[in-house]
């Protein structure tokens, strides 16, 4: 029995009776126990997973109705609430916090009989792109454990690419699904804003972030999207997708599709190997009948600055609730006056969160709002206008997901600005509310490179069709763990 199968294959095997859920879950846990002390993808493992597996096996055996996931193990980034389990955001601030409810995406997965196998590591409160900012230690890139796995959904990408689960849910505020997917050679989708409910996703920058699936194949992403997408009475910002089936016609192809090559994301500052891989992807798609042209987006130059200004502002507000009054960690408040209590209680935030809290207090403040926050909002709307204009001419846009290859631990952590620039190709989709997907395309010198496609709002399906076509042009090696 092998764990190295896709969700699609898993369902076939279960249906054919070649596999029981219990076998698969037990084997998965065994593997996690074996390799995760080194990789550190997980912060917590579901202790009841095997029991839950048995129950589903029983239903299968009794030919009762079984949900579409048929017991497949899915991991959840630890900033997404799973009822009755710790949801820490990889922060000391929420070290012992147990969520009393399920995120909508999680409850939809549970309804379809998936097994939530564990909670995955991330940069504290999803702020970072290496998992080095996790308060509980970083995850490691399974392709080379001296390298970062990307982030902030690093744990999810590691778990998926190293067969510690079949799929995972991450969250993407500025590339946090796509970046680690690219670094770990997995598929990562940031859907159109509002396609997946954010209810139960612990907000970092709520106006631009989305939950997104991380899987090993494009079909598996479409499969998960079928389950978790759609309007939700617990999130006013969700959009009705009319029960779109993202798996139907996934092999539609790219013939005649116009794809724009984003000039600002493919030239300056892009690693040679990444650039070469991108060109190769373009010619592969060209071979399948896609038509390419260069598109320039002037505002991309300012996008990262705007992104950090907006996210800091929203984070400053979203994380204000962590005052340790209603939940949090053990702290004796006796003898403190309220303001000194607050600053003392909030000392548990790590350095990156603290940095962004300070920034978030400053950029929207009375004397500076015009200079920073409102300017950032202007960049956001101009960038959106530019992308909308471009998407009138072409069906989608292409670039490498990350302009550089995965890097070593410690290499950039002390240089926040250098880290920020790693986001240059991913933040546009968030700021413009568009869907974007990272597809594993090459292993260069043992390190993965992902290609990003960005489409128009609610064109997630077309994006998946193109991603599927690109995925099938290459056969990549399996992870060396």
């Amino acid at each position: 029995m092998t764990l190295r199968i896709s969700a699609k294959k898993y369902i076939e095997e279960i249906q054919n009776g070649n596999l029981t859920v219990e076998e698969f879950i037990a084997k998965t846990i065994e593997r996690i126990q074996k390799i995760d002390s080194n990789l550190h993808a997980y912060l917590e493992i579901n202790e009841h997973a095997v029991e839950q597996a048995r129950l589903i096996d029983k239903k299968i055996k009794a030919k009762e109705k079984v949900g579409a996931c048929m017991g497949m193990p899915i991991s959840i980034k630890d900033n997404i609430c799973v009822k009755g389990t710790k949801t820490t955001c990889a922060s000391k601030m929420l070290e012992d916090y147990i969520s009393p409810y399920d995120a909508t995406a999680v409850s939809k997965l549970k309804l379809e009989d998936s097994i939530i196998i564990g909670k995955t590591n991330l940069d504290e409160f999803a702020m970072g792109l290496t998992t080095e900012f996790s308060a509980f230690g970083p995850s490691k890139n399974p392709w080379n454990t001296e390298y970062v796995p990307g982030g902030s959904s690093g744990g999810s990408a590691v778990a998926v690419s190293s067969f510690e689960c079949i799929a995972s849910l991450g969250s993407d505020t500025g590339g946090s699904v796509r970046n680690p997917a690219s670094f770990c050679s997995a598929v990562g989708l940031k859907p159109t804003y509002g396609l997946i409910s954010r209810s139960g996703l612990i907000s970092y920058s709520n106006s631009i972030e989305q939950i997104g699936p991380i899987t090993r194949t494009v079909e598996d992403t479409a499969f998960l999207l079928n389950i978790i997408a759609g309007i939700d009475p617990h999130d006013n910002t969700t959009i009705d997708n009319h029960n779109e089936n993202y798996l139907n016609d996934i092999d539609y192809g790219v013939e005649g599709k116009k794809i724009g090559i984003i000039k600002e994301m493919t030239q300056e500052g892009v690693d040679k190997q990444v650039s070469a891989a991108t060109n190769k992807a373009i010619s592969k798609l060209e071979g399948l009948g896609a038509i390419f042209e260069e598109i320039s987006l002037d505002m991309v130059e300012y996008s990262v600055a705007a992104y950090y200004t907006i996210t800091a502002t929203e984070a400053g507000s979203n994380l204000a609730r962590y005052d340790n009054l209603r939940y949090g960690y053990d702290f004796d408040s006796e003898g403190y006056e309220f303001n000194s209590y607050i600053s003392k209680a909030r000392k548990k935030f790590g350095p990156e969160v603290t940095r962004r809290m300070i920034l978030g207090g400053f950029v929207p403040s009375a004397g500076h709002v015009g200079k920073y926050f409102l300017k950032a909002m202007k960049v956001k709307s101009k960038l959106t206008a530019e992308v909308n204009e471009a998407l009138k001419k072409v069906d989608m846009l292409i670039s490498p997901t990350v302009p550089i290859l995965p890097f070593r631990f410690g290499e950039k952590i002390d240089d926040p600005i250098a880290l920020f620039l790693v986001d240059i190709n991913t933040v546009t989709a968030n700021l413009t509310e568009k869907p974007a997907i990272s597809i594993p395309f090459e292993i260069s010198g043992g390190l993965p490179i992902g290609i990003q496609l960005l489409g128009n709002s609610m064109q997630d399906k077309m994006l998946l069709q193109a991603a599927y076509a690109l995925q099938n042009t290459v056969k990549l090696p399996e992870v060396p763990v």
């Binding site: 997404i80 609430c81 949801t87 955001c89 929420l94 916090y97 969520s99 009393p100 409810y101 995120a103 954010r198 209810s199 139960g200 996703l201 612990i202 907000s203 709520n206 106006s207 009475p233 617990h234 999130d235 006013n236 910002t237 502002t313 929203e314 400053g316 507000s317 204000a320 609730r321 005052d323 009054l325 209603r326 939940y327 309220f338 303001n339 607050i342 207090g361 929207p364 403040s365 009375a366 709002v369 926050f373």
Partner: protein, 469 residues
């Protein structure tokens, strides 16, 4: 001369649920922290779900205060740390990016003076802090989040009041208006709160906070005018600041200076998309809106010939107006209006009394019709009314139980009269000289008959016996 402005917070107490979740808007019946959910205590990952009914009620308030209403509204976050604020920001409205709060530029008139309404906004109420003893000396502060997320409408006026009396008149009118609209029950503790700001000529604007009742607000404003005027008179600068009302000492105390004012870092609440308010929204609500007080009053005067004063009392209290509307017809309207405004008022003047009252509009119809048909005297009617309020029994039951029906049998009345004429010899003499004093004797007869003698028959017989006209 002083300039006074107001900020009024009105809870939409008649709504079923809170502003962003399905917890009860009426939090008062719950034991502490039992009317809460992940949304109203801001648990990680929870999102606000806007209560559309709150937007409707706020729109009605806006229209009733003659405000302009925008085509789309947005919500903002007001960021500050306070223990009663579970998210450490309040979701409210704010006029950035053009006008996005539910109403602006309205007015209402008080005694011919226009009070302009600057802005109306929808926001959430925070929780409540409970101190051990006074807030300054407390050793322990407890927080109850039952109230957190209750829908509030804030009404901000321009500084158009000249004196505390105008403030009182305005608040009275506003309370009646809100009650008539069916959006809020002002008798509930904390349902309506007002803060004021005061400036005098040659001074600066001073905000007064922490006033718990309208009565104290009037006092606080009065205190501020006197304080500021005396500073100006002595050439001492009045600084722009926020002052706390000290409930115990009945004075204001400096809380913070203008330059210490908090920066609330307002920005758009992304979890609630912009809401378009099209003309259908307004039309639909206009149809739902109850008749306003002025129009009711006018109708009562014109249609039934009720006096302005009575019509005013009747129309401005929703409880009385509703009773009147349900009980009257064209013939008995005037009588019912009189019963309500003279006899009923003292019986049901507080919320508590109204809650336990058993009176229905049917009782009023019965009673008025009985008076008109001469079946019961006014004084007996008064007794019957008390009984109705207390027990909810029908008029027929009460009459038979208490023997209240009119005596119109002339021989019986004559015997009462004989008794009175024998006892009141002085008065009889006087009546013979001054016939207009005959009512004194009518009164005596009524008393003797325990209010049951028909007064018109009594008068007729008396006049005959005393040979007066």
């Amino acid at each position: 001369m002083a300039k006074i402005g107001l900020e009024i917070h009105c809870q939409l107490t008649n709504l079923e649920s809170k502003l962003f979740c399905s917890c009860k808007a009426n939090y008062r019946e719950f034991s502490p922290n039992s009317n809460i959910c992940p949304i109203c205590v801001g648990l990680p990952g929870s999102l606000p779900m806007l209560n559309k009914k709150a937007v409707e009620k706020a729109t009605m308030i806006s229209m009733a205060l003659n405000c302009k209403t925008p085509e789309k509204i947005a919500f903002f976050r007001k960021n500050y740390f306070y223990p009663d604020l579970p998210k450490n920001f309040q979701i409210t409205q704010f006029d950035a990016y053009g006008t996005t709060s539910i109403g602006h530029d309205g007015k209402i008139s008080i005694e011919g003076k226009d009070i302009r309404i600057k802005r109306i906004q929808i926001e959430e109420d925070p929780g409540r802090l409970i101190y051990e003893g006074s807030s300054e000396k407390t050793q322990i502060t407890l927080v109850d989040y039952n109230r957190a997320g209750t829908p509030l409408v804030e009404i901000v006026t321009e500084p158009d009041f000249d004196n505390p009396k105008q403030v009182r008149l305005f608040l009275n009118i506003l309370v009646d208006l809100l009650e008539n609209l069916g959006v809020s029950d002002p008798t509930l503790e904390g349902a309506l709160r007002a803060d004021g700001n005061v400036s005098v000529e040659g001074g600066n604007k001073v905000e007064i906070k922490n006033v718990t009742s309208f009565h104290d607000l009037e006092k606080a404003i009065h205190f501020e005018i006197t304080r500021q005027q005396s500073l100006v008179d002595r050439n001492i600068a009045v600084i722009s600041e926020t002052r706390q009302w000290d409930d115990r000492r009945k004075i204001t105390i400096s809380a913070r200076k203008k330059e210490e004012e908090q920066d609330y870092r307002y920005f758009l609440e992304g979890d609630i998309p912009w809401i378009k308010l099209n003309s259908e929204h307004f039309e639909k609500l206009r149809k739902k809106m109850p008749e306003n007080i002025a129009s009711k009053r006018e109708r009562y005067v014109e249609k039934y010939g009720i006096t302005y004063q009575v019509a005013d009392v009747l129309s401005s209290d929703k409880y009385y107006a509703d009773l009147f509307e349900k009980s009257h017809n064209e013939k008995n309207a005037k009588e019912i209006a009189n019963i309500i405004t003279t006899d009923l008022m003292g019986l049901v003047d507080t919320r508590e009394k109204r809650d336990i009252s058993k009176l229905t509009h049917h009782h009023l119809t019965e009673l008025a019709n009985a008076i008109i048909a001469n079946k019961i005297s006014r004084s007996s009617a008064k007794i019957a009314l008390q009984e109705m309020v207390r027990t909810g029994k029908s008029l027929i039951e009460i009459i038979s139980e208490q023997d209240l029906d009119n005596v119109s049998d002339e021989s019986m009345i004559s015997s009462f009269i004989e008794d009175v004429l024998n006892e009141e010899t002085d008065a009889v003499k006087e009546v013979k000289e001054k016939p207009e004093t005959v009512n004194f004797l009518v009164g005596k007869v009524m008393k003797k008959s325990k209010g049951k003698a028909d007064p018109s028959i009594t008068l007729k017989i008396l006049k005959k016996k005393l040979e007066i006209s």
